[in-house]
């Protein structure tokens, strides 16, 4: 009686372990079949297109002209200086993310960069650290989530278009919020009650103009050479983000990259 009880238990355990193996194999099968050649998941397409059109109007009226003026009339060294300052302000967030990604030595390099550039580099205007051999990395919480998530990096949850900020997805939008929450500069200026005209206003304004002036050519290219700008940008954004995250993972896994290339070629 007891023996038969254990017997059935064992049999049950065996069938359930078979079921688990089968389930894992199926999930694994789905994961390897998910080559990223699929269309990005966009259940909010209608509201997204609505926000996209508003963003585009704002861009055409205000942001793009400023970015063009900035690119064409601001002396190149000044543009580089502004870009360096913004990069430097972002270093602490990068370092925090690198710690979370399990790479404290890289985080130490990032903090060393921050210290060198903030002092010798005159508040980050000059990127002295790079010439000292401390190379720059940029990490956000979106990358960190993508790095740990056990899915193809093309899969960042549902696609969304953020007001003003533009293309994003669930992963990257959550990442933006997390980065904002842990940003030491934001916490410090908030705690010290620094007027927004002194810090956040200029910082975000400069970020928008700098980023837009750097994406002028690429975005113009996509807009001019597409029949559906929204869809083309959605695809390009998803691919570009996936590439960044993949490079992060690839450091430990070159083989997966080669297999992905095979899969992509097979899908076509």
């Amino acid at each position: 009686m007891v023996a038969s009880f254990f017997g059935t238990m064992a049999a049950r355990a065996r069938t359930s372990s078979v079921a688990i193996v089968a389930a894992v194999a199926m999930v694994g099968g789905c994961a390897s079949g998910d080559t990223g050649a699929n269309e990005p998941w966009d259940p909010l397409e209608t509201p997204n297109r609505f926000i996209f059109s508003i963003n585009r109007a704002v861009d055409i009226i205000a942001i793009r002209p400023i970015a063009v003026l900035y690119r064409d009339w601001m002396p190149a060294p000044a543009q580089r200086g502004v870009h360096n300052v913004l990069d430097n302000l972002g270093e602490p967030v990068t370092a925090i993310n690198e710690v979370v990604q399990g790479d404290p030595s890289r985080a130490a390099t990032t903090m060393a960069r921050f210290l060198v550039n903030s002092t010798i580099g005159l508040a980050g205007i000059f990127d002295v650290a790079t010439s000292l051999g401390l190379t720059r990395t940029k990490e956000g919480a979106g990358n960190t989530v993508g790095y740990y998530a056990g899915v193809e990096p093309e899969n960042g949850g549902f696609y969304m278009v953020l007001p003003l900020a533009g293309p994003s997805n669930a992963r990257d939008a959550a990442g933006l919020m997390a980065d904002y929450a842990v940003d030491p500069f934001r916490i410090l200026t908030y705690a010290l009650n620094v007027d927004w005209l002194l810090y956040s206003g200029p910082r975000w304004g400069a970020t928008v103009v700098d980023a837009r002036s750097r994406t002028l050519f690429a975005l113009d290219d996509i807009e001019k050479n597409s029949v559906d700008y929204y869809a083309a940008l959605r695809s390009a954004y998803t691919q570009q983000r996936a590439e960044t995250i993949r490079q992060k993972r690839e450091k430990t896994n070159t083989r997966s990259e080669l297999e992905r290339r095979d899969n992509l070629a097979l899908v076509r």
Binding site: N225, S226, A231, A242, R261, D262
Partner: protein
């Protein structure tokens, strides 16, 4: 000791992965280098319509345009009758020529260095390259090369991980879906654009 042997195994694996890549450095890398030098020569010599025509010749010669067009149409290709396919491919060739002549037209003395070449078992060769810019970071460009009847041909270009063919496919697919699942409106739109 155990760590050392594990490291040795890792090295072995790494060697195994990279050796066939270097052994097959031949035709695909040579193709990319030839295309780059021809494009640079063309851009220095010609402008405007002449440049576009020159780029078109280069595309027809070294790119597998029918294959790229077919990939861009994705699942709709099978449902498209041959005469429509012909018109589609013709319109796409013009669109590509225009796009690439604009992209290449931005050229201002950068150098393209061909890097790792990986040969894949399914006949596709991936050529990594870097476009060094005078200011800022180099741009990573990957070329996908496939062996066809008439020698190796480029089937896709990836700029910073963004595949031109995949972006096109997403773009066309969405347009087709937005027009009742029919390919005809897309072809007409492409032909209209090609005309001006």
């Amino acid at each position: 000791m155990q760590l050392a042997s594990r490291r040795a195994v890792l090295c072995l694996v790494a060697a195994f992965v990279s050796v066939p890549a270097h052994a097959a450095d031949g035709p695909a890398a040579a193709l990319i280098e030839r295309v780059a030098s021809e494009v640079i020569a063309l851009i220095k010599a010609k402008t405007g319509k002449d440049r576009e025509a020159g780029i078109r010749t280069i595309l027809v010669t070294y790119f597998d345009l029918p294959f790229m067009g077919q990939s861009a149409l994705g699942t709709h290709w099978a449902a498209t009758p041959p005469p429509q396919r012909e018109r589609f491919l013709k319109a796409v060739a013009t669109a590509e020529a225009r796009a690439y002549s604009e992209r290449f037209g931005q050229y201002s003395g950068q150098t393209l260095t061909v890097g790792r070449v990986s040969n894949r078992p399914n006949g596709v060769t991936v050529v990594d390259s870097k476009l060094s810019q005078s200011n800022g970071q180099p741009i990573a460009i990957q070329w996908e090369v496939r062996e066809t009847g008439q020698g190796p041909r480029i089937t896709d270009v990836k700029i910073e991980g963004v595949s031109m063919v995949m972006t096109r496919r997403s773009d066309y697919n969405s347009y087709i879906q937005g027009h009742g699942g029919k390919v005809e409106p897309l072809i007409q739109e492409l032909e209209k654009r090609a005309a001006n």
